[in-house]
Structures are given as structure tokens and as C-alpha cells.
Symmetry: C2
Subunit: 382 residues, 2 copies
């Protein structure tokens, strides 16, 4: 702890010295008015339907009265793509950019280079892979998330998707709205979750919450990660550690992806790796779309090797109208939604406010929130 304080002081000293070292930008706000830009999805007619709907452009995380009363400028937009977009106009002089994984403002090395005043990149939610983290680190920027804000939401959502796939919900719903009734057309590939083997790839906070929620379903639970989970939790959930991913894959009836998108995990599930899975496997992926090889997933759904695929993440986002996952068989996809329930919005809005307050006061953030700090990436992104 003392070591960390010393290190922080040293970093501040370097940053404040205006040297041309790695850390050319200030870790904490200098006094005076800041220009803060938020990029969120637009709610339009939905905004007025729920007073707690703060995660959209119109809601602006509920921060406007507070930020403006403090003398700061607060620009909010959903217009984030192309050279003439609203975001691009503010890149040269913004101090803080608040973005969200649900409508990602892609912060490229080029944008970082242009953003001479930029100090702080805050993710309203979890997952900062829309930021070029290496470029951000090299530019001495701070990148932080509201760690923990989405974990319950995503774990719940994953369990919902597991059940939707295993129990074959979607064809039944289709029959209802098309005036049909054909129990056999659903039942021939509907199963109970009980007794099936479920493996999570990644057992961080979300993976652990999922294992706890799966426990009463009497499944055979497996997990793969770089390290073993706490023995107490292993005992509580009955989950078994699988050191070798490729050895785990053929054992699983259901595979859940619970790891961040990094250079190592990008495209990790390609044709070859999918071929190692059991024929008829069900896959749930609420992590990131780009962890999968898009076409390999679509092909395996068409061949039946993957018997069902569900998730809320795509690459890119918004998914274009011709994204193959929209039209592949046995998909139960949605737009990127799991971490932006009303409950989650209230959590990440509070988390962003807390970090802005600390930033203005020159205080550190909760340690687990940092994704890039003083030129270093958080362990899960290395």
C-alpha cells in the first residue's frame, strides 16, 4: 500500500513535470472547467416511458445537473462514426470521454492522437475493448470501468440463454405468433438442463456468479481459466477445474464464454476449435462477438455441429442488417443488452459519477476499476 502511494506520487510528479516521457498527460484533473463527452445509445420515444432510464443519450446518466452546476461542459451524443460525426468534432478538446459497450464509441489510436486534452476514458459498464488500450497506455491516459456493475446482470442473462437453448424456447414462441401449434416440432430437440455438462470458459466474477446460479440445476459443472477459483466456491458449486481448454471442449453439452476480448482471445473460436466441441453443442456468448470467428459459427449452426447459439454481443455493433448470425438456424440472439438493464444502468451511472468526483478532487479510483493506469494494462487485458 505504501509502495503504491509512493509509485502514484512518482507518477503524478512525472505527469505534472510536463516531461515528454511515456506519461505525458495528467492522471488527475487540473483545476477549472472540463469538457466531458458521453456517447450513449439514443432512446427517442422510449425515454419518457421509464423515469429510471438513465443509460441513453436523453438520460445522460443523470449527470447533467450535477456536472453543469460544477461549471463543466457536458456534451452527449449517439453520433460516433465517420469523420463528420458529432464525437469527432469534440475529439480535439475533450478532457473526458464516457462511452459504453452497448453503443461503442471506437477510440482508435488516431483519435487518441488527435485528442490533445484527453485525460480520462470512462466506460459506463464493463468491457473497454472498443478502446485501443495499447495506444491509450502509450499516451498516458487513464481508462476505467465500473467494475462489478454488470456482473449480476450478465450472469442472469447467461442462465436465461442456457435455458432458452436447452429447452428450445424460440421455435415454440414462433409457432404462437404465427398461429401454429406443433408440439413435436419443439419437443424433438427440447431437453432439461438437469444432468447436462456445462462448461464456462473464464471463471471471473461473471463466471462465478453463473456457477452459483447453475448449482441447484444439478448439472455437471466445469470451468477453464488461468487459475483455479477459491476452493470454498469450488466446493459450494461443485465445479471442476479443467486446465486444458481443448480437453474440456468435447465434454460439454453447453459452453459459456466468460472472458474479455484481447489480442489473445480474438477469433479464438474458429473452425478448428469448434470442431473439437461435441456435435450438438449449445453455446452462450455474452462476452464479445469478436472472440468467435463469425462465419465459422454461422457454418457450424447450419451444419448442426452447433445446435444452438445465443448471446447479445456481435462484431461490429450495431450488427449490420446482413450479419450472418441474424439468419443462422437455432440462434437466440439479441442486441447488446444484458448489462444495460435499468438496474445495471443505475449502478454504472452511480459508478461513473463516483469516478468523476474522484477525478475532480484528484483522488484515485477504486483499484479494481482501472483498465489502463500509468501506462499499464489491467491483468485481464494483457
Amino acid at each position: 500500500m505504501a509502495m503504491k502511494q509512493v509509485a502514484n506520487s512518482a507518477i503524478k510528479a512525472i505527469a505534472n513535470s510536463g516531461s515528454s516521457s511515456l506519461l505525458t498527460r495528467q492522471l488527475h484533473a487540473s483545476p477549472g472547467s472540463k469538457k466531458i463527452v458521453g456517447v450513449f445509445y439514443k432512446a427517442n420515444e422510449y425515454f419518457t416511458k421509464n423515469p429510471n432510464f438513465v443509460g441513453c443519450v436523453e438520460g445522460a446518466l443523470g449527470l447533467r445537473p450535477w456536472l453543469e452546476s460544477q461549471g463543466h461542459q457536458y456534451i452527449v451524443t449517439d453520433d460516433k462514426e465517420g469523420p463528420d460525426c458529432e464525437l469527432e468534432k469534440h475529439i480535439p478538446d475533450l478532457h473526458v470521454l464516457i462511452s459504453t459497450p452497448f453503443h461503442p464509441a471506437y477510440v482508435t489510436a488516431e483519435r487518441i492522437k488527435k485528442a490533445k486534452n484527453l485525460q480520462l476514458l470512462l466506460t459506463a459498464g464493463i468491457g473497454s475493448d472498443h478502446v485501443d488500450l495499447k495506444a491509450a497506455a502509450e499516451a498516458g491516459l487513464t481508462v476505467a470501468e465500473v467494475t462489478g456493475s454488470n456482473v449480476v446482470s450478465v450472469a442472469e442473462d447467461e442462465l436465461m440463454r442456457i435455458l432458452i437453448l436447452v429447452r428450445n424456447f424460440v421455435p415454440g414462441y414462433h409457432q404462437v405468433i404465427t398461429g401454429d401449434w406443433n408440439v413435436a416440432g419443439i419437443a424433438y430437440r427440447a431437453y432439461d438442463l438437469e444432468g447436462k455438462t456445462v462448461g464456462t470458459i473464464g471463471a471471473g466474477r461473471i463466471g462465478k456468479l453463473l456457477l452459483q446460479r447453475l448449482k441447484p440445476f444439478n448439472c455437471n459443472l466445469l470451468y477453464h481459466d488461468r487459475v483455479k477459483i477459491d476452493p470454498e466456491l469450488e466446493k459450494q458449486t461443485g465445479a471442476k477445474f479443467e486446465e486444458d481448454l481443448d480437453a474440456m471442449l468435447p465434454k460439454c453439452d453447453i459452453i459459456v464464454i466468460n472472458m474479455p476480448l484481447t489480442e489473445k482471445t480474438r477469433g479464438m473460436f474458429d473452425k478448428d476449435r469448434i470442431a473439437k466441441m461435441k456435435k450438438g453443442v449449445l453455446i452462450v456468448n455474452n462476452a464479445r462477438g469478436a472472440i468467435m470467428d463469425t462465419q465459422a459459427v454461422a457454418d457450424a449452426c447450419s451444419s448442426g455441429h452447433i445446435a444452438g447459439y445465443s448471446g447479445d454481443v456481435w462484431y461490429p455493433q450495431p450488427a449490420p442488417k446482413d450479419h450472418p448470425w441474424r439468419y443462422m438456424p437455432n440462434q437466440a440472439m439479441t442486441p447488446h443488452i444484458s448489462g444495460t438493464t435499468i438496474d445495471a444502468q443505475l449502478r454504472y451511472a452511480a459508478g461513473v459519477k463516483d469516478m468523476l468526483e474522484r477525478y475532480f478532487k484528484g483522488e484515485d479510483f477504486p483499484e479494481q476499476n482501472y483498465i489502463v493506469k500509468a501506462g499499464e494494462l489491467a491483468p485481464q487485458y494483457r
Copy 2:
């Protein structure tokens, strides 16, 4: 136990005496070939897609080789309605009728009167309300189910539906297949399950399994039933007993119906009772469609008083093309499917075989399987 044996012997004696008392039919099979009729849903092209698909006409519960090798006649059909249907032809001389809630053969008083040889009505699954139980009891028939065969299936399915409604899955899926992407249109009414109040009306076997599966979601769990559940289970799940149903209703964010259809529960959730629920309530009903007033549910979904309704049960079944639940807003309905997963089919096929074996041998069934025995209805149907 001794008392029960005496009673059973007495009943057998009465039944065998051929008296014209209440019990005019034999409780157990007389020697010789029996005519057994099964009414299931038809699989058509789906039958060959899964070797374990036994719950359909083509699969015939996997009983044909065994029954025919024993010299019995086994007729299987899905044609169950109207005076010229296949079932009607066999009513006069069948000994055993196997039916299923997923494609209910309605066994009316009139059919029972015509069925002079009928002794045994077996339900492949759970829920025998498609049989006129009073008429069956008066005719001295035995009605029995494969108790326990569906409980895990239905509890899992209920939890899936709770999550689908709370997290607002269906509009997201619609966006995907229609080429749309509008996170706000989903998020403004998507919530986490955590922290919500969930009440089950009925805490029998399914209700208890649901409470256990809900436990890790950190909800506020309530239950209403005629009697309290085991104190150990109450402690394990944290569920609180609500003696007064009408006092429980306004407390619940989510209500799950877990009681059988009886003369007392038919139409129980009418306009007045729905009005007692919280505005914005979510309802899951995998019990029986006729427990609800069909139009009152549709109206409350239209007004928004009910914010979501999901279930797999309808009245009648198959649901006609113009059934209002197919088209009401915020529904997440399917045909009757939850208890007829492949796993459940294998369980109830085994259960039906076991009861037929006992019937041929003149042995009693497992006590919990009886719905009507010796003129008496099982407690849950009284």
C-alpha cells in the same frame, strides 16, 4: 399401512363381486388380452430426428413391442375430437386409455358412459384435468399419472420464463430477425431478477423446486399454499409463507402459478383478482390455462397492468388460431411443451410402462400416482 391393505382388499372384493355399487369396474386387469389406446401428438417428419423421441404417436412411448409380445392390442392416434375421430371408435371396447396433457384427449362423462370396458386412465405426464374426474370416480375407474415425471422440467421452464419476462428477451430477438438494432427499445423495460419479489401460488413439488432454483438469484421469495412447506426447506430457500393470497398479490413483482386446475381454481384469476396485483406485474403460468380468465389476461396485458405473461398452457389445447393470448402485447408464450422434453418423455414412458406392468399383474401403483382410486379423488383435485 395395514389399514390400507385391508381397505384395498375390501375394494377388490367389492370390485370383483360384480355388485352394482359405486365400484362397478375392476381395479386390476382380468386375465387376457387388453385393448389399450394411446392418444399423443403426431411427430411427422420430426420423429426420425431423435431416437429418444418416444412421446409422440410414432414413438408410442416405446411400448408397442412389449405390449404386443404380451398379446395386447395397442392402438395409437392423435385424432381425438368429434364424433368421427379415431379415439371415438375405440371408446366402446378399450380397457386402458393413455392420454397426455400436451395433446389432451378430453375424457368427458359421456365418453366414460360409453366406455363399458374401460378400467384405467393413465396420464403420460402430469395433470389429469382433461378427464372428468368426478365422472371417472363415480364409474369406479382408476386414474393415475406419472407423478414426478415433469417436476424438474416445469420448474426449469418457469425459471426460464421469469428471466425472459424480467430481462425482456423477446423484443430483442425480434429486432435481430427483422434486421433492426435498438437497444433502448429493449432496455427501457429490462430489469435484473435480483432484488425482485417473486411469489409462487402453490408450493407443491414444482413450486418447491422453483424456490430452490430461485435461491441464488437473491430475490425476495414468497409462497402461498394451503399448508406451510417443510421448515428446513423454508430456511434453505428463505421463502416466506403468505396465508392470505389476496394479501400476497400486491407485494409481488413476479407471480408464478403452481396449482392444479380444479373446480375451485378454474377462472380464479379474473379481472378483480388481477386488479389486486401490482401494476406492471409479470405472470408465469405453466399450470393450466383455464386457471386464468382468458380475456381478463389479454385486457390487462393491453392496458399494461400485466407487463408480461408467459406460459405454455392454454384453454383449449391446441390453442385456436384466434386465441387472444397469441396476439396480446408482452407475451412470451409457447405451445404446451415444458413437461415433454426428451428427458421428461423418457421418464413418463418408463412410468406408464411400470403402471401397466403392475396393472397386468394385479399390483397397486405407487400411491402418489393415483388421481382417482376407488371412487376417491387425490387431495390436490378435491
